[in-house]
Amino acid sequence: MITCKSVAVTLGDKAVLDGVDLRVERGEWLSIVGPNGAGKSTLLRFIAGLLSGKGTLHLGGRPAASLSLRERALLVALVPQSPTIPDGIRVADYVLLGRTPHIRALGMEGARDIAAVHDALEHLDLVPFSDREVATLSGGERQRVLIARALAQGAPIVLLDEPTTALDVGHQQQVLELVDHLRREHALTVVTTMHDLTLAGQYAERLVLLDAGRVVVDGPASEVLTEQNLARYYGAKVRIIHDGGHPVVLPFREERTRDRR
């Protein structure tokens, strides 16, 4: 569904991505992990078409360079990490923005678009919220609204940039369960960037570990989330505990020798 070949992106004079090769199959959930500055968000933004770079990208079997902005938006929906919420916008209107690629350039939405918005709101249990202002919602509700917008967009590929960063652990699980449920129901291909490695390993079928703009490890969570990898690329002291096949990443602190008098 997504194929990157030797993708290189330079921002300013820094090579943020430096030869990334990646394949994501239809219906798969891939999580991109890596230390700060590894290029996770940049890779996501490149796939979304917001950044240009070297190398080739295929989306749904078609070269991305041949797609118009609109054709691309019909294939790929992006849930940004910190979206701009227009002042005073209500939930229904915000989710309706997702229908933009389906509406003629200077036309207005039709009954199908309204129905799609309603569907998306229903899927995310947001119908009672449709009249609320997005700005007044809690973090978890707002994340659901963002996902509803992506769902209304009707794209087979959904990219989520740090979907859980601003949420508490309960809402993190709810949101990820929701994404997984929608992925199975609508056969979506999901790519997320994730900071929380344990959650990444529990929900994604495959992890890609980026470091300094390159893919350094690519595979199932059990192969990527190892004590050696995390020590080497994150400089982190962790223990890995296995919980029903999913690695749980447990940071630890070495006891310091204390002065005792």
């Binding site: 933004r45 917001l50 902005l69 691309r72 005073g88 916008i89 229904a92 309204i114 119908v127 009249d131």
Partner: protein, 352 residues
Amino acid sequence: MSGAVGTAAGPSLQTARLRPGWLVAGIAAVAAATVAGLVIGPATLSPMAVVRQLIGLHSGLDSQQIAIVEQIRLPRVVLALLVGATLSISGASYQGVFRNPLADPYLLGAAAGAGLGVTIVIVGAADGASTPAAAPAAAFIGALLAVALTYALGTSGGGRPSTATLILAGVAVASFLTALQTYVQQRNQDTIRQVYVWILGRLSTAGWHDVLLLLPYVIVTWTVLLAHRRVLDVLAVGDDEAMSLGVNARRSRLIVIVAASLGTAAAVSVSGLIGFVGIIVPHTVRLLVGGSHRVVLPLSILFGAAFLCMADLLARTLASPAEIPIGVVTAFFGAPFFIVVLRTSRRSVRLS
């Protein structure tokens, strides 16, 4: 929360759209302002008689009164409606494009550029009282050059233009162009009074000349801007997200800026520099009906038209038989009103 939406009958969602009630209110405001503008003046007429005359019924007005209504007051009222509506919808569009409630033709330098263009034309033509035919085009060129200059300066630091730098650049460009305009004005003593009267803002009573001059520009501006009302809502989420939704943000923004500058320039060329309309009217409309451009743009046309018509009525009656420049009236009422609006606005104004 105003209650759950969606009925047993099927999906029925309340999305932002122009509700009939507001549309009727806007049309009523325009109608009321029009009648007031036709009725009130040195010779006060009966509202019923004026309305009957307008719709072609027997009105009982004598021929002199009919001439006052149809040849003196009506063209001026229509001009006020067109100028007010165009300044308002242009202001609302600038604010949408720059995602800043302070963005208006004045802060971006467009009005100053238009002013320079018109001054050059007036100085060059130096004939009677009516607006030279080349004025709108000269104003448009001046306005576009000013906005281009503002944009270039605002983005010269490299990277994406932040709204704050854009507005600051606009202020600098406006000051510079105003200085140029003053220079041209002062160098030509024979036309100085004409330029000065025009700058302070005045709606001419020279029959339908200015209305006909303005009309083609108004039609283009309204059509283009109204056609982009949904796209402006998409641009509200920022360029990146708009692009990820399939909208070419740069191109749409450019089209809207050019159309809004065209309307502003044409309005400025016939009416002079009338400030605050492009901020006050859209701002008030947004407070009343929310921020969606699909509602704000049409209502800005209606309430902007009514607002300027009433302002012009004050301009020509307050100190009658003398006239106060209409730009002075809008500033006199607009500036305090603007401060009240800012203070009561729930969200503070951000520059970036």
